[in-house]
């Protein structure tokens, strides 16, 4: 095979490989150079009724608000978790224990990370969503890197989106 004659074939086959390498590098390389996250955070599961939330952070403390549910509606059991970012593991705490924590409700932590929802997956055809079951997972994002979080999200089939299953409350000071 003469290289000049086959230059279009060589470039044509190289483009997808190059793109795969670039995509892999852009996913894995920033993680190697980004500083390790150090600030743990508190999150809540099953605290969602028509976008209304019973638990919020006010003046650095977790507080409970009154939410009026209809008579026939039984709210789920709300649970609180502290997520250890270095171990990527969650530990359940009671409402009382969560109230003792000093919380920072800012989106970004003091070490430059934020908890974000994953982007929708577009699949083979850009207009179709993929069949993956972890639709809209949650990530710790910062310093050009992102790390998938292993959260204790409720997945009993009632909520399709993870944003309805688990909600970030605040960084623990």
């Amino acid at each position: 095979m003469k290289p000049q004659k086959n230059i279009s074939l060589i470039i044509g086959l190289a483009i997808p490989f190059l793109m795969i390498v670039l995509v892999a590098a852009s996913i894995y390389l920033p993680g190697l150079f980004a500083p390790q996250p150090t600030v743990n955070f508190l999150y809540v599961t099953d605290d969602n009724y028509y976008q209304g939330h019973a638990y919020v952070v006010e003046q650095g403390k977790l507080t409970k608000r009154e939410v009026k549910y209809p008579e026939h509606f039984t709210p789920g059991v709300t649970r609180f978790f502290v997520h250890d970012v270095s171990a990527n593991d969650s530990k359940e705490v009671s409402f009382g224990e969560a109230q003792q924590l000093h919380l920072d409700a800012n989106v970004k932590s003091s070490d430059g990370y934020e908890v974000v929802y994953g982007s929708a997956e577009y699949g083979f055809f850009p207009l179709l969503f993929s069949g993956d079951r972890d639709h809209n997972s949650m990530y710790l994002k910062g310093h050009s890197a992102s790390k998938k979080l292993k959260l204790q999200t409720l997945n009993d089939g009632r909520y399709y989106y993870s944003r309805d299953r688990a909600r970030f409350l605040g960084w623990i000071r």
Binding site: M19, Y122, G123
Partner: protein, 325 residues
């Protein structure tokens, strides 16, 4: 294809020892002896080729409907046997048929059936094995298996039909594997899909150009068409819409379109010229609606757009008459 191109192609094939002097003179003699009969035969052959592929598609539909209607009643082995088994059987049958020159066209129809049924069979098999067939991992596995199968078949038989399947399964693998890598990573949004489509279009056009120098020249037109359609479509989409517009892509797009239109002359491709003209019209409509509808007023913007479209139509016809007919 004009005379110069045909002679150039014959020279290229002769240089590669893919054609002999006797074959060329025999074809010439056949043409001078009975032209109208040959045209009739070619026409009938074309229809029979189409019928082969329609038949193949109907066979695939039959198997798919059978599985769909009796999904709960069929056992695992029957499901796999009727889908993957049929796909493999069609492939084996085609491999026997391809050995006879007379039955080569029929073999292509059987390869077509196997290329349609084997993905279904692999999905059914993985589903029976308890895997999530919608996941990117399984999608990559299915497309990877199919690509390997038809890539090896191409290296053994060197038939154009395998190249078509390889392009399709290769594209599928590229999308599913990059999806597997990215998942729902928040750093990748819809623009990532647009860039993938852009790359796919570029690859198709480059492959089309490569095939002009080979005996698979028949694929060039389709690859140019799909390639330029995907490439310009993705570039236009990347420009997005006010207030989220991407200045780089909105500015670069006219350059790309004119590049494609002038490449159409160099490559003698009607697809490049047609899609270039269509996308330029779409771009003018988009930019007018996006930026000038409010400032100039909608009626004046429409007038200017109309004049722009007439100019593109004139350019399109001129280029086509002068260089491509």
């Amino acid at each position: 294809m004009n005379k110069e191109e045909l002679l150039k192609h014959v020279r290229s094939l002769a240089a590669q020892h893919l054609i002999t002097r006797d074959e060329v003179t025999a074809a010439f003699d056949a043409g001078t002896s009975g032209g109208s009969d040959d045209q009739e035969v070619t026409h009938q052959t074309g229809i029979s080729h189409i019928l082969y592929y329609v038949g193949g598609a109907v066979v695939f539909l039959g198997i798919a409907v059978l599985i769909w209607q009796h999904w709960s009643a069929l056992g695992s082995a029957t499901k796999i046997l009727s889908t993957l088994g049929s796909g493999i059987a069609a492939y084996v049958a085609a491999t026997f048929l391809i050995r006879s020159e007379r039955l080569e066209t029929a073999s292509r129809a059987f390869y077509f059936i196997s290329a349609l049924v084997m993905p279904l069979g692999l999905h059914v098999t993985f589903d029976v094995a308890g895997l999530d067939t919608g996941s990117h991992g399984v999608q990559s596995l299915v497309s990877g298996i199919l690509l390997m199968t038809f890539l090896l078949s191409y290296f053994v038989y060197r038939k154009t039909v395998f190249t078509i399947f390889n392009v399709i399964f290769g594209t599928w693998l590229f999308f599913s594997f990059t999806d597997l890598l990215v998942g729902s990573n928040p750093n990748f949004n819809w623009e990532f899909s647009a860039y993938r489509v852009l790359c796919t279009g570029l690859v198709y056009a480059l492959l089309g150009h490569y095939f002009t120098q080979t005996s698979q020249r028949a694929l060039t037109g389709a690859l140019y068409g799909f390639g330029v359609f995907l490439f310009l479509g993705a570039a236009l989409a990347l420009g997005d819409w006010k207030p989220n517009q991407n200045g780089f892509w909105e500015l670069v797009f006219p350059g790309l379109v004119f590049g494609v239109m002038f490449l159409s002359v160099y490559l003698k491709s009607k697809a490049f010229l047609t899609f270039g003209s269509i996308y330029l019209m779409v771009y003018i409509l988009k930019i007018t609606a996006e930026y000038f509808a409010d400032s100039l007023g909608w009626p004046l913007a429409l007038v200017l757009t109309g004049l722009g479209l007439i100019a593109i139509g004139y350019l399109h016809l001129n280029l086509k008459k002068k260089y491509l007919s």
